[in-house]
Symmetry: C2
Subunit: 317 residues, 2 copies
Amino acid sequence: MSAGNGRIVAISGGVGGAKLSLGLAHLLGERLSIIVNTGDDFEHLGLAISPDVDTTLYTLADVVNPETGWGRRDETWTFMRTLATLGGADWFRLGDGDLALHVERTRRLRAGETLTAITADVAKKLGIVARVLPMSDQPVRTLVETPEGTLGFQDYFVRLRCAPVVKALHFASAGAARPSPQVLSALADPDLTGIIICPSNPWLSIDPILAVPGLPDAIRTSGAPVIAVTPIIAGQAVKGPTAKIMGELGLSGDAVTIARHYAGLIDAFVLDRQDAALVPRFDLPVHLAQTLMRTLDDRIALADACLQICATTTRRR
Amino acid sequence: MSAGNGRIVAISGGVGGAKLSLGLAHLLGERLSIIVNTGDDFEHLGLAISPDVDTTLYTLADVVNPETGWGRRDETWTFMRTLATLGGADWFRLGDGDLALHVERTRRLRAGETLTAITADVAKKLGIVARVLPMSDQPVRTLVETPEGTLGFQDYFVRLRCAPVVKALHFASAGAARPSPQVLSALADPDLTGIIICPSNPWLSIDPILAVPGLPDAIRTSGAPVIAVTPIIAGQAVKGPTAKIMGELGLSGDAVTIARHYAGLIDAFVLDRQDAALVPRFDLPVHLAQTLMRTLDDRIALADACLQICATTTRRR
């Protein structure tokens, strides 16, 4: 590893971002802060659910379900099965153990605690030393505009399994949100040596973070280089609907388009080795790495590559 | 059985009352209405919990845990175990399947439905034909006055395991509550042929029901005889702290005291055969029966005895 004693900020959505965050956490421990998307958050069955924050927590605590990349391992499903017999909504699957976090978070939010404070306490109880930071303590809600109308994110993503065509994305209430003090503090840290945009879906997972007023400026005015890791390999998303959405938005579904999406924000791009032929098409420094992370070793290796890239990248702004 | 085509109202607390209600439901089906104590209800972890209503529902639906008499059989405990790792309150044990009812009820109450409507719908989904009627749709909260201060009911009953000495009981907000329309309608039914106070704790489980303004009058002005089944056998409560509380309140811990507690309300008393020697000490008609209900047959037999007693009891008022 190559980050010296510097601190790193990761900017992340759900499963893919959490995998790289886990690799970074292995190398950096408490020197890592992860700013996590909360645009996917929603209230369901009266419970406050934060899918990307939870995926990050479960992944870093090594309690995540390794088959899905979200939810808890060794989970039971008695709640969901019983809820169905009572006529309750069962399209969003909540495991019995997972439910403990939702119930406890909902209770604490209602008691007036911030999502940031609750997340920090849960992370501590789960033995996580990296800092997991929700992007904002104010609610931002990703809405998906489709030919059938505007859908809540989880309606689109889980209930309708990303089937509707995406015409546009909106981040409701983003204008009234602000980055949490902890997010601003992490980005303003004089020891910050790099900001890594994780291989998450730029439109669904990273744009909501960048829609929080003041957050892009805090990234730009930090002293650290910003790099992004591709979520697209050989024109395919590793997971989720990134390539499908890019097509629906009239964009070419390749990593070059991803880098262009972040133009003005990033100083270098991490491309998968399989896409080496694309290198000449980028107008910023590009580094090749194995970005597919099947094993823990893969995650640590990609994290290490990212730290080296941060250490050698020059601020372009 | 002996109730003809008449209707019966049972007045019930938790486990003991639910057992007799189950026997009555076997004999009466939809001709049974059960008015259930909600003084034990409380909000816990942000969830609206109605212990006596739930015990009644689970017992009548034959999904109750036969070992405890409350909660669900074949339950799992992943939620509770996980909640403990997050530092959540785990003194009130909520099974994973049980939780489905609490989450769904809480959601529907917040959406503006009444506890009565939600309970009726859940009963229907569980295949229950008898009518399970919460005593009121307004919250009434049983408070236990002890030398250590005033305790919420579940604090006293579950967290402190009934250890504190009971100086008095209060039913907070009872003055602002009213019987639900369904309760009043069941008691005013011209086909009503009997009202049976189940073998529940008079102070903890039946008095909160009788504290709802208008409910005792609705019992008295109904055309039906009122009988009570003893919750005390040979000076011992079948379950729970009845005898302990009686002693703490300075009362003799026997069935005679129970009957006196209901003086002016009941027309006959059902005493356990083991207490036959006490018969001369009652100042109202007394009937002997086997009141301990170990098996389903015991429950049906006691229910049948109660129906026969209702059929032969003369109104004393």
